[in-house]
Symmetry: C2
Subunit: 140 residues, 2 copies
């Protein structure tokens, strides 16, 4: 006796994809004004904490595959938002650092992004929003 998995909406993977798509759309729309894509925002947000990260560590945290990260970083370097620095211990590694321009840009961007996040949290309610983060953390 296997219970039929009826509508596609009941698959966790579908529900996640749908919500992710909706949230990403509005996020991308906000970032468009700043001329930045979602992944670039993540990178700058992560770097702006001042942590010294290698490309590999960054790829992991920023949810980007290494080849895609390399190419995106190329673009961000030419935009002047970040710069590469070869690690002194291990010359295979590359540390990525945010530039002053990148930081300046992040101040403006962050306001917008936090506003969007706040809207989502309000839409769900504090309790549900917290619960959501909670449950999602069990999936990654």
């Amino acid at each position: 006796m296997s219970e039929p998995q009826n509508p596609i909406e009941d698959y966790v993977s579908y529900a996640l994809a749908a919500a992710h798509r909706a949230v990403n759309r509005s996020l991308a729309a906000r970032l468009k004004k700043h001329g930045v894509q979602i992944e670039a925002w993540r990178i700058m947000e992560i770097l702006d904490t001042g942590r010294r990260l290698t490309m590999g560590e960054l790829a992991e945290i920023a949810l980007i595959n290494p080849p895609a990260l390399s190419k995106l970083v190329d673009r961000m370097v030419s935009n002047g938002f970040v710069h590469r620095q070869s690690a002194q211990n291990d010359h295979r590694q590359v540390n990525l650092l945010i530039t002053a321009l990148g930081q300046k840009r992040m101040i403006q961007i962050r306001a917008d992004i936090q506003d969007q996040d706040k809207q989502i949290v309000e839409q769900l309610g504090d309790e549900q929003a917290q619960k959501l983060l909670d449950i999602l953390s069990g999936l990654s």
Copy 2:
């Protein structure tokens, strides 16, 4: 007084992206054996209920932008999984139908996909899994 939004993990958009990425990875790995991508599975899963859908309706439900859907359907047609049929009322519209081959393939695929979904639900526990679907539906 604005509370600082500290680590990136606390952004709803980040948590969603991370979970979505993790789930999609394992889903894609399973589908790879069947030579099918996630979006193609969604299309076939949706069509296999027997509903008669236009490209536009399908794009909406399958979470695919119309141009991407057109191209993916081209490939699926040449694989013999689906076929197009111009709608008789409105000749601008195209109905997409699953073929016998597509249905046959879906039987095998669905077993794998349902197994993955079941694993996720077990990992979270029934209650949390249900709660997750619940909360996510408020975002799409």
